[in-house]
């Protein structure tokens, strides 16, 4: 599998599976690890970063867990390709910017994220001298990661809480218990497309599974609140809800210029419409794919030519119009008024 195939496949991003897939769009776990007595990435000079990359890359590639994966040296990728990786949440914006002497390794399927990453971590330990301290645990460049070095997060789609203006309450409550809420592309971003990332803020003084359990519990509660908010909207403010869904459908179907922000926000409402039953279930995939395909770098990559912002807005609207051609009109009569299907039994997510 090479980079090109990642770009042409829609990937796992935004294609939720599992019991709460309507709301939990994706989940991820990362472990921060460094080498003992070598400069951390931000402080290492270019030559040292390259030397460390040469040391680490083959040892990661040889792992049996990584046989279904491939790696690319970031230096060899174009700016647009790197941006594509940012839009897929495979690397951070910071990672893309400081790309000399780093690589990205991609695994095709990552279910049970923590188990896999933990296994890979244990395997790497025997091949590399990892920076570890008996008291402080795994040592990282940023003191906010020291200890477990683990950041676990889930991306949640919460249009119900946003439409009923309860989202700020939820964010404040989550912040109070030491978890972080971020927008689609990290801290400071407004939540485009009603997508929110919830992650652990602290990494020291708690076991990995305790952190994950705490996070999971909060996420379960948020999912419940989102379901409740949707039911309240259906029962108390149906006109507002149908108006939103109808408008989103109308604009997406007929607009000729659309920014990525507007596209994400409207697609989010249509996605909500699918969850509620106003659009048939088989339209879920085409909408989920549009979330990612209409991002700036993905558009650029798709056309193979340089587009300015205006041209991108036209192209984006065109792609969306084309995709929505086969979409039936929203049918409000099909909405389930009792607790929605995904809510019937409390199930665990990974």
């Amino acid at each position: 599998m090479k980079f090109q195939s990642v770009i042409t496949s829609t990937g796992e991003w935004l294609r939720g599976e599992g019991p709460h897939h309507q709301i939990v769009v994706s989940s991820r776990v990362r472990l921060a690890r460094n080498l003992r007595n070598r400069a951390f990435p931000g402080w290492a000079k270019k030559a040292e970063r390259l030397a460390i990359l040469d040391l680490i890359k083959p040892r990661v590639e040889e792992l049996p867990e990584m046989q279904d994966s491939f790696s690319e040296v970031l230096q060899d990728l174009s700016a647009v390709e790197k941006q594509v990786l940012v839009e897929r949440h495979l690397i951070s914006r910071e990672h893309a910017a400081k790309s000399i002497g780093s690589a990205v390794v991609m695994n095709r399927k990552q279910r049970q994220a923590f188990k896999l990453v933990d296994k890979v971590d244990s395997a790497l330990e025997s091949r590399l001298d990892i920076a570890y301290d008996a008291k402080l645990g795994y040592l990282t460049a940023c003191p906010t990661n020291v200890g477990t070095g683990m950041r676990a997060s889930a991306m949640l789609h919460l249009p119900g809480l946003v439409l009923s203006e309860l989202i700020n309450q939820v964010i404040q409550a989550v912040n109070k218990i030491g978890l972080a809420v971020r927008g689609l592309y990290g801290e400071g971003t407004e939540a485009m497309g009603n997508l929110f990332q919830i992650s652990n803020q602290t990494t020291l003084g708690e076991k990995e599974d305790e952190i994950i359990a705490r996070l999971s519990k909060v996420i379960e509660t948020i999912i419940e609140k989102e379901h409740d908010a949707r039911q309240v909207l259906i029962q108390k403010k149906p006109n507002t809800l149908w108006d939103q869904i109808g408008r989103a459908y109308g604009v997406l179907t007929y607009a000729h210029a659309m920014t990525s922000k507007e596209a994400l926000n409207l697609l989010s409402i249509v996605k909500l419409g699918i969850d509620l039953g106003t659009f048939p279930e088989d339209k879920r995939l085409p909408i989920d794919e549009l979330f990612i395909e209409t991002q700036p770098a993905h558009l650029q990559k798709g056309t193979q030519q340089k587009l300015n912002a205006e041209e991108r807005d036209h192209l984006r609207a065109e792609i969306i119009r084309e995709r929505l051609k086969t979409f039936p009109k929203p049918d409000m009569s099909k909405v389930a008024r009792e607790p929605t299907s995904g809510n019937s039994e409390p199930a665990k997510h990974e």
């Binding site: 402080w43 330990e125 301290d133 008996a134 200890g147 109070k176 971003t189 803020q201 020291l204 076991k207």
Partner: protein, 165 residues
Amino acid sequence: MLCDVCKCNDATVFLTQILDGKMQKVNLCEACSKEKGVQDPTGFALADLLLGIGAAEEIEKGAATTRCPVCGFTQADFKKTGRLGCSTCYAAFAEGLGSLLKAMHKGTEHVGKLPARAQRTLALNDRMKSLTENLRKAVESENYETAASLRDEIKQLETELTNPA
């Protein structure tokens, strides 16, 4: 109002974050906000920035001239970046980092995963403890034959501990 980072230009960008019920504010000038990536929200983490500023003050409690013996990292570097230079920096700046980590995390000691190598050291240390204790008892009871063999075992263990596999 002066910029919290460079402390020379007027602040024009004001950031507020509420975390764990505590409000934190940062004031930045145009240039610093650009440099820190504030205007490029996708790559920006307010926590990291706040950390950089608050952390530097904490760490200044340690000796200002401290320099990491391995990577040459200094307090000023930490103040600027909010990151450390290498794994030895944690020992070099331990004094200042202690209270910083306490404020930042749930606890002050790692209780999670142990690398296999650390597990081995831990096991060897435990064994060393019991051997030393047995040796003491053997000497006390004048059981010199046992004491001699225990001493040999301890020697063996010492070499194992100093030469990690």
